[in-house]
Symmetry: C2
């Protein structure tokens, strides 16, 4: 005997809107408190890198200064939301210096209550509100951290459904009624969600005294109360002081009830009503006016604990279960939810939360309740709904199966798993261990923006740097890495990370054209390879005598990938010369003949007036240890998470293919040879990163005299962002007029190679771009005042 | 018995530098006085469009305010120099309002001497010098106008020859000796040049009284003295008051003699020594110091008259003859040129100049001279030289032949031809007629930069506008239309006329991307076609209902040439829709579905804050006259010099090919039909200029409300230069929120179409670019002060 509304299901099927029902819009907010390496609540200020708390839409603080709140934008899939949350978490975790993100809902080692730092929001109203909460609820309970799950049905679905119903209601009324039904049902069945997602069974002795009194100590510092599922959702949780009842029968009644409580002085504002589900309007203006005018835009589910078994506190599987649950709350028959029902639902939730291993209990109305049985019934209903409306949704069916197992075997409940792990070590050690584990995970893929791996690495890095400082973004064209960044009144369009408003169009075109680049640099007295351009073969051949016996390069004017280029470092015959000229002309109407400048090539990344990074690239290689074969050494080197395949990582894996085999063979070597300790074995001639080469950072080693030249070269072309390729004879000597030469200036230089070199520091080129972009806008605004 | 130096010829051949000798560097300076439509000397000031006289390197004034001087840069071929001179002439001629360039050396109708306006150079030193000349020589003679031919041997040749000689001289000494030899020989044989190029046989009665007294009146206003070849080179010409002798035996002697004359008060400065050939240093600093330090850089041949039979005063043939003559002066044996020789040469030159039809005369030393005989001997020598050193130089051989004919038949002499034409009408009528004829010629190809026709028309126009206002240019990359413009301290790099430093790189990229363009315009509340982008077929098909029954366009995101685009203006089936979507996806990974906005399409050319021009394009068409066939009407329309083939003209010729035939057939018409008077017959569906379409200027007709929108659209993208394509429902109505739509903003808009439309005014977009570019630089400089 299920609870499904079969008429509704028929309607959905008839109008073919059943699939649309399973779409939705999702966003996650989560808090983690910062701790030191011993698990003490951090008392350092919120990191400056995140900018002003009130201005960063992604990274704020909640109640306490050390309670970081992370907020994802709204996405149309769970996967996207989850990925973004991961990236947000990585960004925050990697910015903390010698601190960790505490992975659980219950607080870490706490100082005396007075020493818990209340967040300074830099805003008098926000600060006042926090101090009012201190006075009302104390500081300790405010440190409970959790997850808010924001959800709305797809507009497209609501519209189609509304039309199918042909009701007399307005669309707004219809939509509000829909969400209110979901809220009522959710409140009634919230015990199921807490039961399956609760993840705060244990706490530390420095936490609430009232809890400690009722708890038993298990391992070292860990305290437990019965078979607690979620301390945060229990009677010891963060709740309103008096248990209010608010009607969710209509939006009008809801607003009336809240307003009455505020007027009665029970609540400071609507926010202070701590319901498991909150109604949210579309905008952040006046709560009452917004809801009344435009209705409910989405629901905020507030009962989720941070799951310390998950790197970011929640799994995709849990996110899916909640989604399914909310859909079910809509598809289920409507049940009344009055004050009596509310008390019953709260009782049921509390008792099960406190003792998740209970087989049955008596409700206040005298009925005997068997929670597992009821839970399995609800899951069976959800499965039936799924099979009727969206039978292909494998991942949802799997989620149901996982949760069914947890209900059947209570030891599999998330809270039970955590309790066991805490008992095996200690409350602090378990959480700290997880915190460290997750930090390493964040570090491994620090260069990546999860969910945006199709973008160029440079753009991924720039976006992450933007998020860190609270610059909002929008991806305008994914294929082209075209984004827009917004901070306050400033809007900056950016393509491929370094194509911005700071460079003029002609600057880019100057760099694109070798002839023009050389002209521009020569005008500034910067050394470039001497040479001339030719537009036909005979002209070039006629100048043979000019080049004879000199080291020269012969190349097509505009190809950039080494195609059609010949280098003569030694003597050459007129025949050789002629062939090389002909080959170059096969690739362009104009060719260049230039002197060959010897030395090592370095890439100077210039941004504004500064050389941000200098890299030298060396061909794919391994260094012998006297024990392992070349193949083994390469395999080992390839384990570096910076190395991948297909340009999705800062470095590429060393290949052991035909090219490498041949190159070794020419040296009389093979893959199975064991090089001596310290012996460097090269596997390629070219130093391209794309064929497994290494990028070595020389930013601190190269004398300033070369950096000045690189900056002058950029200025000569008018460039703010560029990569200057310079040959340096010997970087131990200061630059003179003849011991260097600039062979190219490149527009749109890659930045990731300077952030994640094979050897050397992260030069934070991503941050520098934002410094320049938003400093400019600021100046612009100032100059207008 | 020739005069050739056979040892030298052997040396050239031995070292294979004979061909290099025939290269050279050339520049021309020429003066034309401005006249009104009756042939009176213009007394208006030098046109403002040419900027400050002292700052424009191409267009200045000489002595008189109405004596325009045009100066070409140095080129490595005669052809390039000649072409540039033509363009310079066109630029000047087209800028004059109701005035003409007087095509002859002898002045037009003159006012009283006091009323001849002396040029105001805006420079006290230059002004003072002119007034000193007024006092010394009067104003009338200064109005003689002529051509200066600047020439140097190629550096490459001089170097190779110097090395072949292995002399003890320094290269500078060697080079100076070479040029001095040429000067001495040229002075000795200058009579030949004057004889063959002289073109000022007649003059007007308002000219020099002393001339009139010796002359006879021929036709109306025309006065002639004997068989005068060149009045300007005669004893009545502009000469130093005393006949000085200056030694050209060595640079030292030359400088010593000049200096002595200045010290004696005979000359104001070195410039006042009016020799037929002048030695020139490389730079324009102190004449003596420059010559002494760096030697002679080039020779200035000053004896050439303006040839009124030639549009620009000189033909390429004459330029080649002079080149050959100068080479001959080097290859010829050295002959002494002392004071005695100088007097003899001057006598010979004068007597032959005054009576070009003389068969023989007695020189002061008693020898009988037969000028024709001597001239033919010299030409024979030149021919022999040519056959020995450069036998393939056809055009030089032709030039010799032409001049041989002139010597043999004196009526063919340039001066004789002119005399005849003047006698047939009058001095003023002949010259005015030519002036008008040449102005029409200049007008016909006003859009063209001769010698630079391989550049895009927009770049040709921009360069001409730059020359007009004295902005120097350099072509950095011809294939790419990449130029640099310089004025004083300001340097601007420009590619394809409108890619400049004024636009930011991201602005160009925004416009390149339709998704981003729409986003940016929508943000500013500008109407663009509503629509969405799709990244896969099924997503697009799923939205079929959204588009059903609406006029829509389905197109690939980034193709620009109509490929893969489907427009549904009426109803369409889901099948049609699916096919259109599939086709669009064949051309891009992303497609756009947009509402179709109806109306006529207009191109708004926005520059800075201004709409510079608005064009509407219509398909190739003819308008009937009730008499001619469609084919005849098309042929007639194609006679417009604006129409050409292969995008070298502002419009393309109407084709009468298969496409046109088919299009007419569908209308039940054929090429041989005779349309009624006033009937418009279209020959194409598409309105592209490239298929013979017409460009119609609507700049003054379109209401300002649309112009404001176009400027806002440009600003939204941050563009200084762009082409806004707008659909307008009915241009008679002011713009509302719904009666227009912007379908594209284009970077790098063509400007020539707005300068040379089929119907409408020249909107001078070329000038506007320069206004903005150089106004910016000026502000920049100012803000730095």
């Amino acid at each position: 005997m299920g609870l499904l509304n079969r008429d509704f299901i028929q309607l959905l099927l008839k109008y073919q809107i059943n699939n649309d029902l399973f779409l939705g819009e999702f966003a996650i907010e989560k808090e983690n408190v910062r701790v030191d390496s011993s698990g003490n609540l951090a008392r350092t200020p919120h990191p400056k890198a995140f900018g002003k708390k009130m201005e960063n839409p992604y990274i704020k603080t909640d109640f306490a200064e050390s309670q970081i709140e992370m907020i994802t934008p709204v996405f149309d899939t769970i996967n996207k939301t989850y990925n973004f949350l991961n990236t947000l978490h990585d960004i925050v975790a990697l910015e903390l210096k010698e601190e960790y993100l505490w992975p659980g809902s219950n607080p870490p080692l706490l100082p005396d209550e007075d020493e818990i730092p209340v967040a300074d929001m830099g805003d008098p109203i926000e600060n006042k509100y926090r101090w009012e909460l201190v006075n009302k609820y104390g500081r300790v309970k405010q440190l409970y951290s959790g997850i808010h799950y924001n959800f709305s049905f797809p507009q497209k679905f609501l519209r189609k459904w509304y039309e199918a119903e042909s009701t007399e209601q307005s669309f707004k009324e219809f939509k509000d009624a829909t969400y209110l039904k979901v809220v009522r049902n959710t409140l009634k069945y919230r015990w199921l969600l807490i039961y399956l997602t609760g993840a705060s069974p244990a706490f530390h002795q420095t936490f609430l005294e009232e809890c400690v009194q009722q708890a038993e100590e298990t391992a070292q510092d860990s305290f437990l109360i019965d078979d607690m599922i979620s301390l945060r959702n229990s009677e010891f949780g963060y709740r309103n002081i008096n248990p209010f009842f608010i009607s969710f029968d209509s939006l009008e009644e809801y607003l009336r009830d809240i307003k009455a409580l505020i007027e009665a002085g029970e609540l400071l504002n609507a926010k202070e009503y701590y319901s498991a589900v909150r109604l949210k309007p579309a905008d952040s203006g006046d709560y009452f006016a917004s809801l009344r005018e435009n209705g409910i835009a989405y629901l905020e589910l507030r009962l989720l604990d941070l799951n310390p078994l998950e790197p970011v506190g929640i799994s995709q599987e849990t996110m899916r279960f909640i989604h399914l649950f909310l859909i079910y709350m809509l598809v289920k028959k409507d049940e009344p939810y009055d004050q009596e029902e509310h008390i019953l639902a709260s009782y049921q939730s509390d008792i099960l939360n406190r003792n998740g291993h209970l087989d049955s209990f008596i409700a206040p109305d005298g009925t005997k309740i068997r929670p597992q049985e009821k839970a399995l019934e609800l899951l069976k209903d959800m499965e039936e709904m799924l099979l009727l409306l969206n039978p292909g949704a494998e991942e949802y069916l799997q989620v149901l199966e996982i949760n069914r197992e947890r209900i059947r075997n209570k030891n599999l409940l998330i809270a039970s798993q955590i309790k066991k792990k805490i008992n095996d070590s200690s409350f602090i050690q378990f959480h700290l261990g997880k915190a460290r584990e997750y930090l390493l995970k964040s570090m491994e893929h620090g260069y990546q923006f999860k969910g945006y791996e199709d973008l160029e690495l440079s753009t991924q890095l720039l976006l992450k740097a933007a998020i860190k400082r609270g610059i909002e973004f929008n991806i305008l064209d994914r294929d082209e890495n075209f984004i827009v960044l917004k901070k306050g009144m400033n809007t900056e369009y950016v393509k491929q990370a370094t194509k911005t408003s700071l460079d003029s169009y002609i600057t880019a075109l100057i760099m694109e054209n070798k002839l023009v680049t050389k002209h521009v640099l020569e005008q500034q007295g910067i050394r470039v390879p001497n040479g001339r351009s030719y537009r036909n073969i005979s002209e070039a051949i006629a100048d043979y005598e000019l080049y004879q016996n000199k080291p020269i390069v012969i190349k097509p004017k505009s190809t950039n990938f080494g195609i059609g280029i010949t280098i003569f470092t030694d003597t050459f015959t007129k025949g050789d010369f002629q062939l090389a000229v002909q080959m170059a002309f096969e690739h362009d109407k104009t060719i260049l003949l230039e002197e060959f400048i010897s030395g090592k090539e370095y890439r100077f990344l210039v941004m504004g007036d500064e050389v941000v990074g200098i890299l030298h690239r060396v061909p794919a290689n391994v260094i012998g240890d006297g024990q392992h074969t070349i193949a083994q050494l390469a395999e080992d080197k390839n384990k570096d998470p910076l190395r991948g395949k297909g340009y999705r990582t800062p470095l590429e894996k060393i290949q052991l293919g035909e090219a490498e085999k041949l190159f070794l063979k020419n040296q009389g070597k093979g893959f199975m040879d064991v090089p001596e300790k310290g012996e460097v074995v090269y596997l390629r001639e070219n130093s391209n990163i794309s064929t497994g080469g290494d990028s070595l950072d020389y930013t601190d080693e190269i004398p300033d005299s070369y950096k000045k030249i690189a900056v002058s070269a950029a200025k000569a072309a008018g460039a703010v962002f560029c990569g200057v390729d310079m040959m340096i004879e010997d970087m131990k000597n200061e630059a003179s007029e003849i011991n260097y030469g600039i062979i190219e200036i490149n527009f749109n230089p890659a930045i990731h190679i300077h952030c994640y070199p094979y050897k050397g520091k992260n030069r934070h080129a991503d941050e520098k771009i934002l410094d320049l972009l938003f400093q400019k806008s600021k100046q612009h605004v100032n100059s207008e005042n």
